[in-house]
Amino acid sequence: MSDNTFFPKLKKLLIILAISGALIFFNPAGIFNPVRSLFLAVTSHIQKSFSFVSFKTNNWIEFMTSISKLKKENADLIKENNKLVSAVALLSEEKRENEILREQLDLLPRDKYGLEACFVIGQDPQTLGSWILIDKGRTQGIKEDMPVIVGEGILIGKISEVQLNTAKVNLLTNSSSTINALDLETGSRGVVKGEYGLGVVMDMVAQTDAINQGDTVVTSGLGSQMPKGLLIGKIQEVRTAGDKLFQNALVIPRVKYNKLEVVFVVK
């Protein structure tokens, strides 16, 4: 190798690797948090503008690509509307049943949550479904482990890190996410875990307990600040193995995490 600058370059690289390695190895919890907090505080408004423009651009692109389908969709919607009118009558009866069931299961009424509305201003670009960034933080009373929901009580994750004006939400699909859960139809209990941004699994369900495809999974309210009765998703597939102590089930979350614009933190 005739390149006489190779070894000085290699020396530089090794020094960088050694310093970075030491930073990773000795990384005491929170040593860089003030720096991260400062950067996030300074850039949170820019991030908010970027995500707003991005949402609007995405909506516009989706609208433009859907124009050709609109006529057919309109005809389909008229048909669907007629069906829905009759379905509403049935649902009002089911709503009453649902209220009775919630009362029996001691679930908190959904309008009783103290909610803080937040805009999603960022998300993990490397492993989607891992975390999102919201525009409220310590200043607005957000604390770690607070549940984060959308719509009428659909759980999407919980607060994992709080900065001054922003907070990181670990989504249900995050590999480090674990939440105590309950099968609403059968009452079986388990733990809902994320599968590396890919999906959600209800695990640790005793072999003697019943869990069925299509069952609704909600939070059980055991431990931490998680209220009882927040919707997690529906069971898509039950995985049982005779030689194991527990059975588990693949749960399909109700929302697409990469389309979230507004979420609510349960305080």
Binding site: F6, S20, I24, N58, Q123, D124, G197, K259
Partner: protein, 165 residues
């Protein structure tokens, strides 16, 4: 000083785009703009000139992506070193050949970056590597002209000015 500040602002802007803008448009396969910039500059300028940019970019990505500080610094430094060393041997003055060489390095860098993340998270598939490489290659072609301008700007501020008396 002006050059350093400009580079810092450009990298910060790219990191913010990666976190807050691109994921909503590209869903699962958002392009790695910072990685592309580092590969381009390493190929053109070599590791010796680019390592401070690679380190700064790594720290910013670690901060905004909520990673342990140092993770991305290591990945970017290794990529910058590898690309710098390879580019010196393969890059010749012929313009088209040069672009294709950097394009190849972008694809390789994307795979190395994704593999390094996969080692930590174990989430990616072969399909992911393929799509991510294609998206990054397309992003490189789109950003080629702006990156050349940036390169010229860096060169302009690095060269000593000619003083005519």
């Amino acid at each position: 000083m002006f050059q350093k500040t400009s580079v810092f602002i450009i990298i910060l802007f790219l990191v913010l785009l990666e976190v807050s803008f691109l994921p909503y448009l590209f869903s699962d396969f958002a392009p790695d703009l910072v990685l592309i910039l580092i590969i381009f500059l390493s190929a053109r300028e070599g590791f010796n000139k680019i390592w401070p940019i690679a380190v700064t970019a790594g720290i910013l990505v670690d901060l905004f992506f909520f990673q342990t500080i140092g993770m991305q610094v290591i990945i970017y430094s290794l990529i910058a070193f590898g690309v710098g060393s390879l580019a010196k041997r393969f890059l010749v003055e012929h313009k088209l050949w040069g672009i294709f060489t950097i394009l190849f390095l972008v694809v390789m860098g994307t795979i190395i970056n994704s593999l390094a993340l996969d080692f930590r998270e174990k989430v990616f598939s072969g399909e992911y590597f393929l799509y991510k490489s294609l998206v990054n290659a397309a992003a490189f072609i789109t950003l080629y002209v702006p990156m050349r301008k940036l390169e010229k700007m860096l060169g302009r501020y690095r060269e000593p000015k000619l003083i005519i008396k």
